[in-house]
């Protein structure tokens, strides 16, 4: 009875990350987990899509076929979204934002295909948040120079700087926790339904999949990219 209440109610509930095999590196035991494998699968799917898209676009025709249409639709949608928020800074960040958009979207949706969504691991989302953090501050130094950064740090008064620093650190933490907790809550809900209601879960969980995996995943992808773009554009803008 050393287990939590939920885990004793049904033995089939399973939404944890599992280690697959471990290895030693510099005296540390490191684990290859299910998250790594799911990220690998997601990356392979995206790479396959990219190779196919590249092949189609190289022999693009004036009257697009189905696949060329899809590729053009995706690129156009991303361009519009990024251009609408970042304005004149959009050409430099189009690659990065487009990449994380497609990666997070496919990761979130991969719950639908029986994988454990990679974004339901805090390691993945924290890495994404830290990339955003680095980009924000790199661009701040690039556009506002050290003087502008210092002026912003001591915004109302110089002794306000520690609070501003806490505010800077809160950005990647809240970004990554939001994405992580949303995807995790979907994963947990689906695991509970399949575990506790296994006898009754016949067809109707499909509707919940539409909400938790497709809708919630797409909205959170959009929110993550939107906030990243807003923060970066804010860091680039000089008065």
């Amino acid at each position: 009875m050393g287990q939590g209440v939920l885990l004793t109610a049904g033995a089939d509930i399973d939404f944890m990350i599992h280690g697959v095999f471990s290895y030693e590196l510099f005296g540390q035991t490191l684990w290859i987990t299910t998250t790594h494998i799911c990220v690998l699968i997601v990356l392979l799917i995206i790479t396959g899509f990219c190779i196919a898209a590249n092949r189609v676009i190289k022999r693009a025709s004036d009257v697009p076929g189905t696949f060329q249409n899809i590729v053009e639709l995706v690129v156009e949608m991303l361009d519009n979204m990024i251009g609408g928020v970042m304005g004149k800074f959009s050409p430099q960040f189009r690659n990065y934002i487009g990449t994380i958009f497609i990666f997070i979207l496919v990761s979130n949706i991969s719950g639908l295909f029986g994988l454990r969504a990679p974004t339901a691991d805090y390691g993945v989302t924290l890495a994404l948040g830290l990339i955003t953090f680095t980009l924000i501050h790199f661009n701040k130094f690039r556009y506002k120079k050290a003087k502008g950064v210092l002026a912003e740090l001591c915004d109302p008064w110089p002794f306000w700087a520690p609070i501003n620093i806490i505010g800077y650190i809160a950005v990647p933490v809240s970004l990554s926790l939001r994405l992580f907790a949303n995807v995790l809550s979907g994963t947990v809900m689906m695991a509970l339904i399949y575990g506790l209601l296994a006898k009754f879960a016949i067809v109707w969980p499909a509707a919940l999949h539409v909400y938790f995996d497709l809708f919630s995943g797409a909205i959170q992808t959009y929110v993550f990219c939107m906030l990243t773009m807003t923060y970066i554009a804010d860091a680039c803008t000089t008065e």
């Binding site: 209440v5 907790a181 995790l184 809550s185 909205i219």
Partner: protein
């Protein structure tokens, strides 16, 4: 560490997890207010429905964060069990 102590800590963790999920009240009220105002805005200007909907969803997703922090605390208490020595 007796069995009683372990079970006591687990029980208290479960109560704490339940209390932490009460954080869901705040985002619920906030998202409801956002949805109500969005409905009013669509009533005034039905042409801007798609813009209003996307703005509302973005704001609601951001407002959801505080509730998710409560959920995370509950998850930590139930599954990671940080209070057990």
């Amino acid at each position: 560490m007796g069995e009683f102590n372990t079970n006591f800590i687990l029980g208290c963790s479960a109560i704490g997890a339940g209390l932490a999920v009460i954080a869901g009240i705040g985002p619920g009220v906030g998202q409801g207010i956002a949805a109500g105002h969005a409905a009013a805005a669509v009533g005034r200007n039905p042409g801007a429905k798609s813009d209003i909907t996307s703005t509302m969803l973005l704001g609601q997703a951001v407002a959801e964060t505080t509730g998710l922090y409560g959920l995370l605390i509950a998850m930590l208490l139930l599954f990671v069990k940080p209070l057990l020595p």
